[in-house]
Amino acid sequence: MAKSDLFCSLEGSSWTDPVTNWTLLAGVKLDVTLANILKRGQLPPMSYPAFVHECTHHWSFHTEVGVALAMLQLNARRKAMLMKKTSATFSDLEAISEAQTRYETTIALLKPLAEGLALFAEFDAFPGKMPSLSLPSGWVMALYGEPTKDEIADENLIPALERHLLRWRTSMELARRKANLMIQPLRCVETNTVRGYLPGYLLLKQLQIVAIIRDAAFLDADFFYSYTKHFFFNDFAFVDAILDSGESDVGAAEHIAVYFQQRLSAFAHSFTKENVARVAKELNAPLSHQRFLPDLKPGTAADARGQKRLLDLMEELRTKADDKLESALRKVDMWTIAQRELMCLGSFSATLRRKGSGLINISRDGNPIAWFPALPDAGEFDGEGTVAYFFSPSRRYRAMAASFGTRVVSLTFLEDQDDSIRNEVVGYILNRDFAESADAALRDRVQEMLADSVQANVRNIIGQLTRDILDRIYIPQSLNVTDEKLPIVAAAMSEDGFLPLLDGDLELLTSVALVSTAASLVPRSLLAKIMKSYGRDLEDALRRAELASEKWGIPFFNVDKETIVSLL
């Protein structure tokens, strides 16, 4: 396995923006790996955990819930752009604040779950017996798998995916990443910011155990992962609660929070044969013309209302407004919604030069990197631009683009594409720097409009109320301990997660992390050999984990002679 530099330097962490669905993969240095990517289309192995993490966010937010949230933000930003601070009326500000409150409340409630799902993808998702494969796993197969000639000939790349996952799950790189998760605070809020990585992850681990008890289909961890994403994010009834204009301020936030808590409670009761069959079918359903929606009829009245509310917002964007600026802003937002399908895998700034020929010279610091074919109407230019590698997980294409300013001047698809996709993508803004600065300016505009207003105070209070309930929603369900032990264990884990439970021994915690990522994939005897190769003792780790388990009343592993089942 290639050396990992995932925890690197000043570039910071990878991230996904829920409004634009832009992603940043901190571990991909496109300028360094460009030639290899162009040749094979694959990403450097070291970028895998960050990729699957961000791809899960991208997948989760390229859904009806994700689009509803994006619409709320874009609406607020449009309104803020159209107002003048000096003449904005109370109701103008209320309209912006209202959209912000709904957006922020939903994002806060979903965040631990969304992070938990992304971490489940890193440490647990693995294909099993169910016929469907999650979208991110399919892309892991394409971007990281190394299929044999026979597998390619048979069009069965699943074994290549399994080999890739097995390599990672038994590696020290991933064990350290899991150990880093296990020492995060068992709290949803840190320094007034909602995070909740450990509570969200442990919640899903607990729910998977419940799911497996109810139906063996959930032994397929990749299916459980898809099912969870589908249950919470492909949910028009949630869209109804998010967009319902019947309530405002605290009432709206409360409505959203109550819906979410009810949905979370319903999740544990949803693992029936009927739902398994229905979701398995829906996961394979073709996407509708809206592209982020499976082509399905809504189930309940709330689903139908949510669908209508969302389609009405889409229609508003498509409609020309009387005001020219508003029309232009709607058009920009329409493109923003459309290009949410794209996930950027890497980008870099470079000098782009085209003089006469059909090729664009890409260089950095005077050193030539590549020649890209120019689009027919690209024109001539010489100056700073960007190169980006991106793909559409849902529409299954990959492309390399060069942008000069906001204009796409070169576009090369890695697979053959029809003209409709090509023409659409040329209209996207693929210059990350420009997109990010425009996004930041619009965010700032909203904050500027609301600064020092009554609405800002109300929003702050609602934000605090939402943060206050998160631990009560997540923590009790994330730990498999008795009611009596819950406050004791939760308090012990509130700062450094599992570390105090293991007497502050970071090395033991790392061994426990390795057992937890590898145990479900290899027999006990092989795991002992793997651990020995890393200078670690499986039996010692199990014995000491068992002591901690007895002391704190929290099960770590179910162990028998040949197998180990990880409960964390």
């Binding site: 990992s4 690197c8 910071g12 880093n180 020492i183 995060q184």
Partner: protein
């Protein structure tokens, strides 16, 4: 006081480094987060006092993992100007003579003493 700042550490790495540096005081600075973005787990930077033992431990720690870290020296001059100097240490070369030489130059410590301590600690 001259300070050594190490950027982009995970919480796990910060704890590892803290254990290796024994009781040396360490200031932990969380790196900025956007509240609504879905991010990878947060990173921190740590600030420790410049010393030969701290630099030796740091170089060895980087060499034993598969990582790269950016270190920064800040110094306030007599005129009040803050001077910073950065260097990226990579695991493959962290204990090479070139990298140790660079660390000694940036942090103004004795190259020979630093090299000797790294060799001593590395053999344990």
């Amino acid at each position: 006081m001259e300070q050594l700042r190490v950027y982009g550490l995970s919480k796990y790495e910060q704890k590892q480094l803290q254990q290796m540096l024994a009781d040396a005081p360490m200031e932990i600075v969380p790196e900025p987060l956007a509240s609504d973005r879905h991010q990878d787990l947060a990173t921190v930077s740590v600030i420790i006092a410049v010393s030969i033992p701290a630099l030796a431990v740091l170089a060895l720690w980087v060499s034993r993992g598969s990582r790269e870290v950016t270190v920064e020296r800040t110094e306030t001059t007599s005129s009040g100007t803050i001077v910073t100097n950065r260097y990226t240490l990579r695991s493959k070369e962290a204990i090479s003579a070139a990298a140790i030489g660079k660390l000694a130059e940036i942090f103004k410590v004795d190259f020979g003493k630093l090299l000797k301590l790294i060799e001593k600690l590395g053999s344990v």
